[in-house]
């Protein structure tokens, strides 16, 4: 750390994470028990505890991040989303299904489902806004600006484009959505920037994607092949045969292992591409995350989860984040005295819709 006596000025921004597996196993263990005891209501507080620890274990320039969110905020956000979004949608769909004639019912249900797809993007944006607003470093908050609806509609549009192109647009969609988010993200009053220009896209995003597609095709080939050999096509009722279904799952499980080798390169490439596209002030970021890192993580995490009977799931997620931090490199310095507090404190409650739609995807 290069810090002047008064602590202002420029600071080297190396990213580190010193989380320990033991601690996360313990958190995973007791929060599972509390979650069970409280009919899962504890889950919001559990997530908050985990984030507090994970953020505090992550240091930038030797100074830890701080997560300032509260379990109650997540709980309230969830209740709001259930009663203002989820229930009305479910009721609309059910009412259409059971009270309307077929054609108006089909229209209402189609509109409701389209809305749900847009809302997924909205929900993800809102969750990110909440998380950044609850992340603090050196007393200064992060902030996500921009419109959740505009993000949701854009993500929906890109999603359609991805469907129309049979998935070919997917990596471009991911990079463009990252650009949208980071170009409206701030540390205090200092904006992040995301460069998605062709000159900045130096990683073999599409080359690695081809390998991933080949892997996915092989996986489906394996699945259908196995179903054919097991006679599940000829006699669909055989799906009720426990032994055959178990065999199918065993084959698919093995197939998933092989699939990891095909998609790891692409995933690592994406992480490297996204990281190097982000900058903050004069600071550039870079990641050395490799396909081999992903393969290693996948196998060791699987063992971790199996041998801890599932309690290790949190520790497994932590290990992914820890690896991402350890592979991160940061060049340049920030003039910290010139960075002022973020404009807004962020939303009062958080992530409700992500919970209601169950798309949170972990910590």
């Amino acid at each position: 750390m290069t810090m002047s006596a008064e602590g202002g000025g420029a600071v080297a921004l190396n990213v580190e994470n010193k989380s320990s597996i033991g601690q996360f196993l313990w958190i995973g263990f007791y929060s599972s028990i509390f979650t069970l005891l409280t009919l899962t209501l504890f889950r919001f507080w559990a997530r908050t505890i985990v984030r507090r620890r994970l953020w505090a274990d992550t240091t930038i320039g030797s100074e830890p991040l701080e997560y300032t969110g509260r379990g109650m905020e997540l709980f309230i956000g969830f209740l709001i989303a259930i009663f203002t979004v989820m229930l009305p949608l479910v009721c609309a769909i059910l009412a259409a299904q059971f009270l309307l004639d077929p054609i108006p019912a089909a229209i209402v249900i189609t509109v409701a489902y389209l809305l749900i797809y847009v809302l997924i993007g909205v929900a993800l944006f809102l969750a990110r806004r909440y998380q950044l607003s609850r992340t603090m470093w050196r007393g200064v908050r992060f902030e996500q600006q921009g419109s959740a609806w505009s993000y949701g509609l854009t993500a929906f549009g890109y999603g359609l484009l991805t469907v129309v192109t049979f998935g070919w647009f997917a990596p471009a969609m991911r990079l463009r959505l990252e650009r949208r988010l980071w170009n409206k993200a701030f540390f205090g009053d200092l904006p992040f920037a995301y460069d998605n220009s062709p000159a900045a896209r130096t990683e073999p995003v599409y080359l690695s994607y081809i390998l991933a597609i080949v892997g996915v095709f092989l996986f489906y080939g394996l699945m259908f092949g196995a179903m054919y050999v097991l006679g599940l096509f000829a006699d669909p009722t055989a799906m009720a045969d426990v032994e055959k279904v178990a065999q199918l799952y065993a084959i698919l499980f093995g197939g998933a292992f092989v699939l990891i080798f095909f998609v790891a390169w692409h995933e690592a490439t994406m992480i490297r591409q996204i990281t190097k596209s982000i900058s903050l002030g004069g600071v550039a970021m870079r990641s050395k995350f490799s396909a081999w890192d992903i393969i290693q993580l996948a196998f060791t995490n699987l063992l971790l989860v199996i041998f801890t009977l599932g309690f290790g799931a949190l520790a497994a997620q932590m290990r992914v984040w820890r690896k991402v931090c350890r592979r991160m490199e940061v060049d340049g310095t920030l003039d910290l005295a010139r960075i002022h507090q973020a404009a807004s404190r962020g939303p009062k409650s958080g992530e409700g819709m992500v919970d209601a739609f169950d798309i949170s995807g972990g910590v």
């Binding site: 969830f78 769909i93 009270l99 169950d358």
Partner: protein
């Protein structure tokens, strides 16, 4: 005693090196460009891993970092900053357990209790429309018998007589559907599905009249609506508790539940009582209900013998599945035996009904 610490003022990202002095009421923080006092009641312990990290509710973004030492530990303990969080954690978990229990009460007590008043409050035309749509959806899986029109015509006088006696408040419509399993079930709004298996299994028109009287009992009690509210309420609550299995899945799940309405034992027994009264009022012998149950029971034991797959068990008639107390119900119907004064269907009409599904 002045301790050295680091201070983030929450206004810029600058770090200040500060001198910190504890007294009985709080802590004074002094450095270049910094002079502030945090009172003990405003002090918050943010983190203790790798050193003390303190905040104050009066300056929510500011942070004071102190190294752990005997002096700081003692000062923070005497200010009551340490130890507060453990108590709060215990209260939180306790409160959440109580909330969880309340939710369980809601699931197992309040929703089943609320379902009946809700059903009664539902306008009858809404229930009828809902039953129509539901019936159409059931008919996707259970095809109506194509040549049932003659059977429906032959059945009409019997149905009318039962409706006059029972006054269910809905227009009762019988739909014959093709399914091997002998079963009859009442949808919301008065639609009654009768499977081809049931028509084949029953021995005489009195048994059919008894089964229909039982279903009309469900219609009159609006049991379909009650079950619907109960299932929908449970599904939504489950969603809240478990945190979402996804809207789409939820809707499918609810739809699935609606399509196979299941009645409670209490509802079944009330429908039996109602059937006995209806049979008697129509001039038929209520004991026919007992004989209908027995015919169905015989079918079940026939089915049971080969049973190669556990899945087959899911196909046992709903009548028997949800009615563990079948023998008691048979006994009750038999005890209600009253000499018949009328014949539900003449032999020709019964022959036509028997051929409802070809």
């Amino acid at each position: 005693m002045a301790l050295r610490g680091r201070f983030h003022d929450g206004e810029t990202a600058t770090e200040h090196l500060v001198e910190v002095t504890f007294d009985a009421d709080g802590v004074e923080i002094v450095g270049a460009g910094v002079r502030t006092y945090w009172r003990r009641q405003d002090l918050q312990l943010i983190d203790r891993a790798g050193g003390w990290r303190l905040g104050a509710s009066t300056a929510p973004d500011a942070r004071l970092m102190l190294a752990k030492s005997a002096e700081t530990d003692a000062a923070l303990r005497s200010l009551g900053v340490v130890g507060r969080d453990a108590l709060r954690g215990g209260m939180l978990v306790g409160g959440l357990i109580v909330a969880g229990l309340a939710l369980a009460g809601l699931v197992f007590v309040a929703i089943p209790l609320a379902a009946e008043p809700l059903a009664r409050m539902t306008p009858r035309d809404v229930e009828a429309r809902l039953g129509d749509n539901l019936g159409k959806q059931v008919n996707v899986f259970m095809r109506p018998c194509p040549s049932a029109r003659a059977a429906n015509d032959a059945l009409a006088p019997l149905l009318e007589r039962l409706e006059t006696s029972a006054a269910p408040g809905f227009d009762v419509q019988v739909t014959f559907v093709r399914a091997k399993v002998p079963n009859a079930f009442a949808m919301p709004g008065g639609r009654v599905m009768v499977t081809s298996g049931l028509v084949e299994t029953l021995d005489d028109p009195e048994q059919l009249a008894a089964v229909l009287a039982h279903e009309i009992g469900h219609v009159a009690a609006r049991d379909g609506m009650v079950a619907l509210y109960r299932n929908a309420g449970l599904g939504i609550l489950l969603e809240i508790v478990t945190g979402g299995s996804g809207v789409a899945q939820q809707v499918v799940l609810l739809g699935g539940q609606l399509a196979e309405l299941r009645y409670t034992r209490g509802q079944e027994e009330r429908a039996d009582v109602s059937a006995i009264a209806t049979m008697r009022a129509s001039g038929y012998d209520p004991a026919a209900l007992a004989r209908a149950f027995e015919a169905l029971k015989a079918f079940k034991s026939d089915e049971d013998r080969p049973a190669p797959s556990r899945l087959r068990e899911l196909n046992i008639p709903e009548w028997l599945q949800s009615h563990p107390g079948i023998d008691r119900r048979i006994a009750r119907a038999r005890a209600a035996a009253t000499p018949a004064t009328a014949v539900p269907l003449d032999p020709e009409a019964w022959r036509i009904v028997k051929r409802a599904c070809g």
